[in-house]
Amino acid sequence: MSKPLKQIHLAAHFPGVNNTTVWSDPKAGSHIEFSSFVHFARTAERAKFDFLFLAEGLRLREQGGQIYDLDVVGRPDTFTVLAALAAVTEHLGLTGTINSTFNEPYEVARQFASLDHLSGGRSAWNVVTSWDAFTGENFRRGGFLPQEERYSRAKEFLATAHELFDSWHGDEILADRETGTFLRDAKAGAFVHTGQHFDIHGQFNVPRSPQGRPVIFQAGDSEEGREFAASSADAIFSRYAALEAGRAFYQDVKSRLAKYGRGHDQLLILPAASFVLGDTDDEAQELAKEVRRAQVSGATALKHLEFVWNRDLSAYDPEGPLPDVDPVVSEEHISRGRAQVRMYRDPLATAREWRELAAANKWSIRDLVIETGNRQNFIGSPATVARTINDFVQADASDGFILVPHITPGGLDVFADQVVPLLQEQGVFRTEYEGRTLRDHLGLAHPDQIGDDRRAAS
């Protein structure tokens, strides 16, 4: 007997900064106006997606001491957009990244609990950490957090938020007009937390929300990040959208669950993935090439090379050969507020390798950046893409995908109209929402039903 087919989870990431978004395309709309978010969210809901995902920015990126100006810059506030989207959708989960370094647990917990109430149980929190003083310059807290403390603060932040969410049990509000009893218990919301990062006590002032707690997402790939996710997250936002790497990551993270007393289904693995669709596979391949060229202008190519060279390369011709000069190896980096910087640990070796690659293939700077940069994960006709996604999930390389279109806000439409119906025909994706809450969509139990094994074990 064959194994029953896994159900695929799909979500949509509203594209923000970085050069995924082709803002120069005539079809590209605003990434700020609310109408764009409404279009995007309604498309995701029409396609019965699990949730919409919004990233967060807390400092504009800089390169060479200047604000980076080649990609989409600027975005609205995560909580505010998600709360407004709750008004124009009914089922779609609303997931937001909120940094645990530049916030306090009481405030964030009440914002997520409020969002959960106001959306009828559709909120999720992607917990991220930051340690850099650069971002800290926008906050009272400043940049004091040492890098090695980022997960320790994040873990304690999340545990503290859970204590606040759990400080109401859900049966406190009687609102009995006859007896004049509003609250069953005067101590509703009482909490005490004493720890390394937070020493707080008092009463939480938001009653228990429909999901009990928001769904918790975690992103990050280090050893500590994987442990954090295995111990504390409901879903992991990974970057392994290639089959073998995806399977390795999947096996690794899922195998860590047991020691926290958690089952295989209590942590979903959802890589971010981009896609290009065409009527035929060949047409999609052609289109994908065009998109990559649009994503990497000559100016963008030079800026990407500067991440590795760590010096001003503006005098070079992007259509010409790679620089002869070597990268500057320094603690001070030309680029700030950009996550990819961490990917270039050995710039001299990378430069050597790229020069050889470019020479062998007769690539210009721009060709090199296009060829070595991120490719679209799924390219093909709707049938090809649907089949590939399904194969990937059935092979346990992920539990689904968070799709990132390259056009705002209409880039998801073609996927919703052409790929989703094929997945539905194959019986691997829902045709109707079966529940109301995000936990329902993701197949996650309500925290009141799973007890507190998790915290006891961690």
């Binding site: 700020i32 609310f34 409404v38 920015g57 807390l58 400092r59 504009l60 604000i67 100006d69 080649l70 989409v72 810059v73 600027g74 975005r75 609205p76 506030d77 909580f79 505010t80 957009v81 709360a83 407004a84 008004a87 124009v88 306090e104 009481y106 405030e107 009440r110 609990a113 409020s114 969002l115 109430h117 106001l118 310059e137 926008n138 906050f139 009272r140 400043g142 109401w168 509000i173 609102a175 007009r177 004049g180 009893t181 509003f182 609250l183 069953r184 218990d185 101590k187 509703a188 919301g189 937070f198 707080i200 006590h201 008092g202 009463q203 002032n205 938001v206 009653p207 000559g298 100016a299």
Partner: protein, 403 residues
């Protein structure tokens, strides 16, 4: 006087739970079990919009409500718990088209960077109808919820020590507002250029570091969110004394005051205008609104009886920092016109029972004011600034750049 923006009377309502009377939740018109649902708030705000009101404010706090000024209480007979006001405002924004949305923001424990982008975004999702009402908290228990600072205990409201604490918190609030406002201006309106020829999405020369350095925080900027539709959303604050009057005079577009009669209203307006002069802002428009709690019924005796019934349920007479009006819509219209004549440009009415007194305002008071020719008959502007007769401000950084 040039600093009074408009001669028409403005109306706002202050939304707080089931209403401002602590026993309001026990009234038949109250919906206490729905306080934590979106539908409840949507219904209140759409009712206010039906009455053509300028805006609603939404109360908030970083701890449970209390019958004590400074401490939590142990009461179970009153509404406790509330949702984040900015999120409530955002949730109802797409369901409304005209009314201004002004959530309360507590400056004492929040980050101005976060508040700035949240209110800017509220302005985007409401197409130019956002504001904020800035509030401080001197409650030690709320400071304990954050654990970052201790706030010295105030014993007597008017002791020198208490004044020092409160002045410090208002100074911080003033800095908070200054940072928020600078961040709103940190993008010039036309910073997004999408110049395909050069590959530049923005003109970085139109983005500005704000470089704020203050006693409580320093903020670099620029904002992550582009300048909101109104340029500067509305900043408002409630004020009872010289220090908060100063905050209103220096930093606000709308100040709420609590006069008990016409003479007091005139005196309060004069004090705020004097502070405004001292701050060099005499020429700038600044609304001074009167705050009143209202029990409105068709028959004055019914209003009085309702108030007495609620007081009996609460176990004590309701008191407020603001005047408590009990009576009919025509009586309230008389009072508002008198106070308007004393220099108040508008009013923020606090419904004693939201489910009863809000519809009494929108369906009783508003038509009465319209009959008298002192209130709008249709929304005549698309933004909250427009409704309040306030121009869209120039960007401070753009001005200096071209100077």
């Amino acid at each position: 006087m040039s600093s009074t923006p408009s001669s028409s009377l403005h109306l706002a309502v202050a939304l707080d739970g089931t209403g401002w009377h602590p026993a309001s939740w026990r009234e038949p018109a109250a919906r206490p079990r729905e306080l934590f649902t979106a539908a409840y708030w949507a219904d209140l705000v759409t009712e206010a919009e039906r009455g053509l009101l300028d805006f609603v404010t939404i109360e908030d706090g970083l701890g449970p409500q209390s019958s004590h000024f400074l401490d939590a209480d142990e009461r179970t007979d009153q509404v406790r718990g509330r949702l984040d006001a900015v999120l409530i405002a955002s949730r109802v924004a797409p369901l409304t088209r005209h009314i201004g949305l002004v959530p309360t923001v507590v400056s004492t424990h929040t980050e101005p960077f976060h508040i700035s982008k949240a209110i800017a975004t509220l302005d985007y999702v409401s197409n130019g109808r956002a504001g904020l009402r800035v509030q401080i908290t001197a409650r030690p228990n709320e400071a304990d919820h954050f654990g970052r600072r201790t706030i010295p205990r105030i014993d007597a409201y008017d002791s020198p020590a208490a004044r020092e604490v409160v002045t410090d918190l208002f100074d911080e609030a003033a800095d908070h507002v200054e940072v928020v406002r600078r961040l709103w201006d940190s993008w010039e309106d036309d910073a997004e250029i999408r110049d395909a020829a050069t590959g530049r999405f923005i003109d970085r020369d139109k983005l500005h570091y704000i470089d704020f350095e203050g006693r409580h925080f320093s903020v670099k900027g620029p904002s992550i969110t582009p300048r909101p539709p109104q340029g500067q959303p509305i900043v408002s604050a409630l004020a009872h004394d010289t220090v908060p009057y100063r905050l209103v005079a220096r930093a606000a577009d709308v100040g709420y005051v609590t006069p008990y009669d016409v003479d007091e209203a005139r005196a309060l307006v004069a004090r705020i205008r004097a502070e405004q002069n001292a701050a060099g802002r005499a020429a700038e428009p600044l609304h001074v609104f009167g705050d009143l709690v209202v029990f409105l019924d068709d028959d004055p005796a019914a209003a009085t009886a309702r108030r007495e019934r609620l007081d009996a349920l609460a176990g004590q007479p309701y008191t407020s920092d603001a005047l408590i009006f009990t009576g009919t819509a025509p009586q309230l219209a008389d009072l508002l016109q008198d106070l308007h004549g004393a220099g108040l440009s508008g009013f923020r009415l606090r419904p004693a029972v939201a489910g009863h007194d809000l519809p009494a305002i929108t369906r009783g008071l508003v038509p009465e004011l319209q009959r008298r020719g002192v209130y709008r008959r249709a929304y005549e502007a698309g933004t909250l600034r427009g409704l309040l007769g306030l121009a869209r401000p120039a960007n401070r950084y753009a001005a200096t750049a071209t100077a």
